[in-house]
């Protein structure tokens, strides 16, 4: 009897085993990504305000929610603002990150170790911590930045950094870039250290200047890493929420509301869940091309990985 059991469950069992093993993960991923995506579309076609939220009633309104946001000039302002915010933050992050990575390769050993350690610490700082700390640094009355700028000859006594949209965005950008640079710099530096020393020496022996050496050796070695990091940064910065929300909740006067905050404020703030879902769908669509390009890149490296 036991032998029979083992035999009947034998080869079939082995064939089914991998599917049993991935079962829970597969189920979780399909349901937890698929359901919100489908339901974003479904909710965006409904009127779902506070009344419907509590009664559970379904009211279909076709594309009314899309019409509402797409004809609202504020929505377009927010969309344009989000794109500009993303571009500025990504460019700054990549430029500073690349600069820091190049510097890491050229400073003396003690400085390199210290700088790497500092970068790792900054990398570990949670977003909400960074936001709170920068609010303290730029505090109107007792913030150290105002003191230092005043003592350097400017008049920054009681200067408020959060009274205009542009200035608030500048602080938010500072927080985002300060936190994002370590990961970019350390990744690029790691890619650079993979360049064989003989290659550098050969190019140096040819009498090449630093620019030529950079384009001939360093750039090809880090190009794909730069691409991956840029993609990731765009995705992260486009949907940034914590820093923007915690700094001024989209203020002053709605001037730092980006798409994530728009969806949050429409949905959770004003209980217009249908409108907020339409904004979510637009947001995902805007990201989709980029996500697809990034995934193609990742799947290609996955294929290389699997054939190896």
């Amino acid at each position: 009897m036991p032998g029979q059991l083992a035999r009947s469950g034998g080869p079939g069992d082995t064939r089914a085993l991998p599917y049993l093993l991935i079962g829970p993960a597969l189920f979780a991923m399909v349901v937890m990504l698929g359901w919100p995506v489908v339901s974003a579309v479904v909710i965006s076609l409904q009127q779902l305000d506070l009344a419907q939220f509590f009664s559970g009633e379904t009211v279909w309104v076709g594309f009314d929610n899309y019409r509402e946001i797409l004809t609202d000039s504020f929505f377009w302002t927010v969309t344009a603002r989000t794109v500009v915010f993303t571009v500025v933050n990504v460019l700054l992050t990549m430029a500073v990150g690349l600069g820091v990575a190049l510097l890491l390769g050229r400073v003396g050993r003690p400085l390199r170790l210290t700088l790497s350690a500092v970068l790792v610490v900054v990398w570990a700082i949670p977003q909400i911590t960074a936001t709170v700390v920068f609010q303290w640094l730029f505090d109107q009355q007792f913030g150290v930045v105002n003191h230092v700028l005043t003592s350097l000859g400017g008049d920054f006594r009681d200067h408020s950094w959060f009274s205009s949209g542009l200035s608030t965005f500048a602080i938010i950008t500072l927080i985002v870039v300060w936190q994002a640079v370590p990961f970019v710099a350390l990744s690029l530096y790691a890619a650079m250290t993979a360049i064989p020393a003989e290659l550098r020496e050969a190019v140096a022996a040819d009498g090449a200047g630093p620019w030529h050496a950079y384009w001939a050796i360093t750039w090809p070695a880090i190009k794909s890493m730069v691409m991956v990091l840029t993609f990731l940064s765009v995705i992260w910065d486009f949907k940034a929420f914590t820093q923007i929300y915690a700094v001024r909740g989209g203020g002053p006067d709605r001037s730092t509301i980006t798409l994530s905050l728009y969806a949050y404020i429409e949905g959770i703030g004003k209980n217009h869940y249908g409108v907020a879902a339409a904004a979510s769908v637009v947001m995902v669509l805007l990201l989709l091309g980029l996500l697809a390009a990034y995934l193609r890149l990742m799947v290609r490296s996955l294929d290389e990985d699997m054939t190896r």
């Binding site: 597969l26 995506v37 709170v132 995934l295």
Partner: protein
């Protein structure tokens, strides 16, 4: 490449400036936390504290509900770690050790979920949790963080499993172990470093997360520590000493954990997933 002496000095000087710029906010957080209030609210800020005090830490931890927040955070983070590890471990074994149809498709799905912009889906997720009766309940947060951390955990454990020689299990199977027995007795004990690294990653993710905690948890005594930290400023106005002590307390475990496993996680996709 020979460099001039002046060039080397300039580069090192820039290096020192960068160290100061990056380190200063962290230093200012910790030093403010230990400074007497008189130093914090003085018109000339002191770079070094004139004396060290624990009063701000006392203020922070004696705020109402502090231990509720801590308990919620610990509960959510540990549950996320356990759920993620259990589900991912099974999948990682299948992916790293067995040949089966659909393996590539499965790994592609892992990458898709890894990259998915869940933050943009907060509204439908909010409505789904309402339908499931999970709004304002910790399991909703655990499920959310589980799906945030699952792809990375599968991906990373897969490479840890692949690094263990298959001969070891085969030898165990020759000795009479079943396939599952071989995994439990041979692979699992060797997998601890990978489980610890991915577990810490999941813990940090759950510990730090702000948006979904804000959206899903509405009752104060059910919220997690990031909301506690953000509530400080509004509730206390300008008690910067207390706020910085709270920030320091909140960040310390993350920092310790992160430094412990950072080198294990820095590689390709893995590194990408560890941000914030």
């Amino acid at each position: 490449m020979r460099r001039s002496r002046a060039g080397t000095v300039t580069i090192n000087a820039v290096g020192v400036v960068l160290i100061c710029v990056f380190a200063f906010p962290v230093y200012w957080m910790v030093s403010t936390a230990f400074k007497p209030t008189i130093d914090i609210l003085g018109y000339e800020p002191n770079l070094w504290p004139s004396a060290l005090t624990m009063e701000h830490f006392h203020t922070a931890v004696t705020r109402p509900l502090f231990f509720d927040y801590v308990r919620n955070s610990l509960l959510v983070a540990t549950s996320t770690v356990l759920l993620s590890a259990a589900v991912a471990l099974l999948a990682a074994l299948a992916v790293a050790r067995m040949q089966w149809r659909g393996r590539r498709g499965f790994l592609t799905l892992v990458l898709i979920v890894q990259t998915a912009p869940f933050e943009a889906l907060m509204i439908p997720m909010f409505i789904i949790y309402r339908d499931l009766g999970l709004l304002d309940r910790l399991p909703a947060l655990v499920l959310t963080y589980f799906i945030f951390t699952l792809p990375f955990t599968v991906w990373t454990l897969r490479s840890f499993v692949a690094a263990i020689p298959a001969d070891l299990e085969e030898a165990a199977m020759v000795d009479g172990c079943s396939r599952v027995g071989a995994y439990v007795r041979v692979v699992l004990p060797l997998l601890w470093p990978g489980l610890i690294a991915t577990g810490i990653f999941a813990f940090i993710t759950a510990w730090n997360e702000f948006l979904f905690a804000l959206v899903i948890m509405q009752t104060e005594d059910r919220q997690t520590l990031p909301l506690w930290l953000s509530s400080f400023r509004t509730a206390f106005g300008t008690d910067w000493g207390g706020t910085m002590a709270a920030s320091t307390l909140f960040t310390l475990p993350v920092l310790v954990f992160f430094l412990a496993v950072q080198h294990k996680l820095v590689s390709g996709l893995g590194a990408g997933a560890v941000k914030g």
